[in-house]
């Protein structure tokens, strides 16, 4: 009952230059199917038996960094010599340490997440 007028509305909006019978092949088989994410697509791509000389998306990822990551103070961005053992934040000087200690836990967690260092396990 409800679908009929809805379809009409869609039909009306449909621009004139489109093929009215077009449907994405993915959507035709079953309604529930969604678009694959890039991760799924490249995983699929990699699983195919490619010839030797073929290159595909996942084979050109940049190499991992060979240098140790430099430490920068989380709050000021300056080079950091120290790590607060409690919050695990990096800090550059004594003044900053006081600031670090006064930060509420959500801000601390925010800084750690930003740097990708927030491990939920501990």
């Amino acid at each position: 009952m409800n679908t009929a007028p809805e379809d009409d509305a869609k039909e009306e909006k449909r621009p004139i230059f489109k093929d009215p019978s077009f449907q994405h092949t993915i959507k035709t088989s079953s309604k529930k199917k969604t678009w694959r994410s890039l991760k799924q697509i490249i995983a699929q791509e990699r699983s195919l038996p490619w010839p030797e000389d073929a290159v595909h998306y996942s084979s050109i990822s940049a190499p991992p960094s060979f240098k140790p990551a430099k430490k920068y103070s989380d709050i000021s961005g300056l080079p950091a010599k120290y790590t607060d053992p409690q919050s695990k934040l990096f800090y550059a000087c004594a003044d900053e340490f006081a600031t670090v200690r006064s930060l509420p836990s959500d801000i601390t967690a925010g800084y750690l997440t930003l740097r990708g260092a927030n491990n939920p396990i501990g």
Binding site: P15, I16, F17, K18, D19, P20, F22, H24, T25, I26, S29, W35, R36, S37, L38, K39, Q40, I41, I42, A43, Q44, E45, R46, S47, L48, P49, W50, P51, D53, A54, V55, H56, Y57, S59, I60, S61, A62, P63, P64, S65, F66, K67, A69, K70, Y72, I75, S76, G77, L78, P79, Q86, A92, I107, G110, Y111, L114, R115, G116, A117
Partner: protein
């Protein structure tokens, strides 16, 4: 110091262009630079793209009972922040994966170009795609273009290669290293004799979007109070206008750590604010009292109404019961019994009792109403008077001095108490501090005590133990805060030397100060992500290292030819300082005295579109490279014709339709393996 303001530029909705007859009849090719940041579209005959918009749509969420809102596309979204959570993009990283969104975008594009032919778009399409775009994605895009829009032919090109091609037009067999800094990714693609060498190319998953979100979050964490005012669009504006890449990051940081340098170079940005809107804090005592009185009045009104309603109800019931009593007196026994049953009463004996009860209740309610009308709201004035009495200013000079000192001391004591309480609370929150050890000891003791003869609670002091073990600590009580405020008010009025530190300022100028962002190191910290992805927790190598990695994968001769023409393109390469920084870093990495030349694209953002347009004007190239509808049907959607600016074509070893039907768990297995390796 100069104070800047955000411009918060609004986009202008696109007009619907005229679909001229000459374009219509000659089926002029249409050039679409489908970038993950901006989409640029124009006819091959024009000088610049007709349309240029952010490649996103805003789809209102479906709500039950409401009509679906209109989907907004590109420049029709005038205020992007208002629909931030409804934004959708067809991109996953730099690859188009969501083809329904892409369909909406293309609808928008063709509609705004004024195309009105029925059932098809009768123009060949030249479109950009990601470097090494998966065949699966190209297939879906071809399907959309050929089957939905019925285009006669499609040609796919890679934006960075197009751009390079344009900027060395004189020599189509040139060798060089293309570095394309995009919105989601950065590519380093060696081009040997005019052809991209995909085997040695590398892609970093860092781009302009990462810088923007990094800057956005940094500022939000620095100014939690302005969390909502610091929007992604503003971070983007900051990145575009005020950020730069520095030649030597660590020495630049050293100069920033100097206070004078900071003061000279910090960027001060005024957030919009309205002076009077700081909530109840900004109210004068007079206004607060007024508000309280208003509240009390409303409460009494509600109470009075309730009482009257109750009175009416009771009276109604009483009348009914009296009527029943009358029935009994008149001897109508059956009707009397029926009526009793209706009221849920067992026998006639209860009737007088209930009548009595209701009468008492009515009487009480009446008395209350009378009482409420006579007493004027009793709670309003009393506490204030007490305070005024307490702080009556002594007239005598000597007395005054000692009185002021006394008030000041009281304030100090309160502050100290509060401070120590906060300290204790903080201590409690952590393990193994003396405070929390003491707390555990007390809890232990309590638990032990309860088992033996239990006289706990006999003395009032016993109960204090709960205060001691309460983890939250006693919170700053409201009464105390009020007292503190009173004291400060008195001091402000009578003591010229008084200024409460850390107290909210009242003047308009100070309110502005509170709404100001100071952006210092962040200006160089955000773009630094490109060179040190570890800043945002990525394990990939930085741009300079990746370039070096690519160069080292060649023999020394080829590497030095590549290094002598490093070409920067892509929107993100417009950040000032990129070229200088790369020159410095790569010189350090290359062999001593080897030749190095880095150049920036003549127009990094739009060059790919211009190059594609030039190709589209060349009928010979079109003939060679365009995939026609017939070829699409013969060879499938993934098919492209290899040419100098396209992706290399590797036909899929299995038909892609098989991929569709492959069980999903094989994919998830793949992902598991990937996770293990990482």
């Amino acid at each position: 110091m100069e104070i800047l303001q955000f411009k918060d530029n609004k986009t202008v909705p696109d007009v619907i262009h005229l679909y001229s007859n000459s374009i219509k009849t000659c089926s002029v090719p249409l050039v679409i630079d489908n970038g993950s940041y901006n989409c640029r579209v124009g006819w091959a005959t024009s000088d610049s793209p007709q349309l240029s918009f952010k490649n996103v749509i805003a789809k209102p969420r479906k709500e039950r009972g409401k009509k679906d809102g209109e989907t907004q596309v590109g420049n029709n979204i005038t205020n992007i922040e208002a629909v931030r959570f409804q934004l959708k993009t067809q991109f996953d990283r730099n690859v188009v994966t969501h083809y329904e969104v892409q369909e909406q975008i293309l609808n928008y594009v063709f509609t705004h170009l004024g195309i009105d032919t029925e059932g098809s778009v009768n123009h060949p399409i030249i479109m950009t795609e990601a470097f090494l775009n998966p065949n699966y994605c190209r297939m879906l895009m071809s399907e959309l273009l050929f089957e939905c829009y019925g285009v006669p032919g499609v040609m796919f090109g890679v934006d960075s290669l197009l751009s390079y091609h344009k900027d060395c037009n004189k020599d189509p067999l040139r060798t060089g290293l293309v570095v394309c800094c995009g919105y989601h990714t950065t590519h380093v693609i060696p081009v040997i004799n005019g052809r991209a060498d995909a085997h040695h190319a590398r892609r970093m998953d860092i781009g302009g979007s990462h810088m923007i979100s990094y800057l956005h979050k940094l500022l939000q964490l620095k100014y939690p109070a302005h969390f909502a005012a610091i929007t992604l669009s503003r971070a983007e504006e900051l990145l575009h206008q005020h950020c730069n890449i520095v030649e030597d990051y660590s020495s630049e940081l050293n100069s920033w750590s100097d206070g004078d340098f900071y003061d000279r170079n910090v960027l001060c940005i005024q957030l919009p604010y309205s002076a009077g809107s700081s909530g109840s804090l900004g109210l004068t005592p007079e206004q607060q009292r007024e508000r309280r009185r208003e509240l009390a009045r409303r409460l009494t009104e509600i109470n009075a109404r309730k009482r009257e309603e109750k009175l009416a109800e009771d009276e109604e019931q009483l009348n009914q019961l009296l009527a029943i009593q009358d029935l009994q007196e008149e001897g109508e026994e059956t009707e009397f019994q029926n009526a009793l049953k209706d009221f849920g009463l067992g026998s006639g004996d209860e009737l007088p009792k209930i009548i009595g009860q209701i009468q008492v209740r009515i009487e009480k309610t009446r008395q209350k109403i009378v009482a409420a009308n006579t007493t004027e709201d009793p709670m309003s004035e009393e506490p204030k008077q007490k305070i005024i009495k307490q702080f009556q200013t002594p007239k005598d000079e000597e007395d005054f001095k000692s009185w002021i000192a006394d008030v000041r001391k009281k304030r100090e004591e309160l502050l100290e108490k509060r401070l120590s309480r906060r300290q204790r609370r903080q201590e409690m929150a952590k393990r193994r501090t003396p405070a929390s050890v003491e707390r555990m000891r007390l809890i232990n003791q309590l638990a032990r005590n309860e088992k033996r003869d239990d006289d706990f609670g006999m003395r009032d002091e016993d109960w204090d133990v709960y205060k001691a073990i309460n983890k939250g600590g006693d919170s700053d009580s409201e009464g105390e805060a009020e007292k503190l405020m009173e004291l400060e008010q008195v001091l402000r009025a009578h003591d010229p030397g008084f200024s409460a530190n850390g107290e909210a300022n009242s003047g308009a100028e100070e309110a502005g100060e509170a709404h100001r962002l100071h952006v210092g190191v962040e200006r160089i910290r955000a773009p630094e992500v490109l060179f040190q992805p570890s800043l945002i927790g990525s394990h990939q190598a930085g741009l300079a290292d990746t370039i070096d990695y690519v160069l080292k994968s060649y023999d020394a001769d080829t590497a030095s030819i590549l290094a002598s023409d490093i070409y920067l393109t892509g929107g993100t390469s417009r950040i000032p300082g990129l070229k200088e920084r790369l020159t410095r870093e790569i010189t350090a990495l290359r062999p001593f005295r080897s030749h190095l030349s880095i150049r920036l694209s003549s127009s990094p953002s739009i060059n790919a579109w211009l190059a594609a347009r030039d190709l589209a004007r060349d009928s010979r190239i079109l003939e060679q490279c365009l995939v026609t509808k017939q070829e699409y049907h013969e060879k499938g959607g993934e098919y492209i014709k290899d040419h100098s600016i396209s992706n290399p074509y590797f036909p899929s070893p299995l038909p892609l339709s098989v991929m569709e039907t492959m069980p999903n768990n094989s994919i998830s297995n793949q992902e598991d393996i990937e996770i293990d390796i990482v």
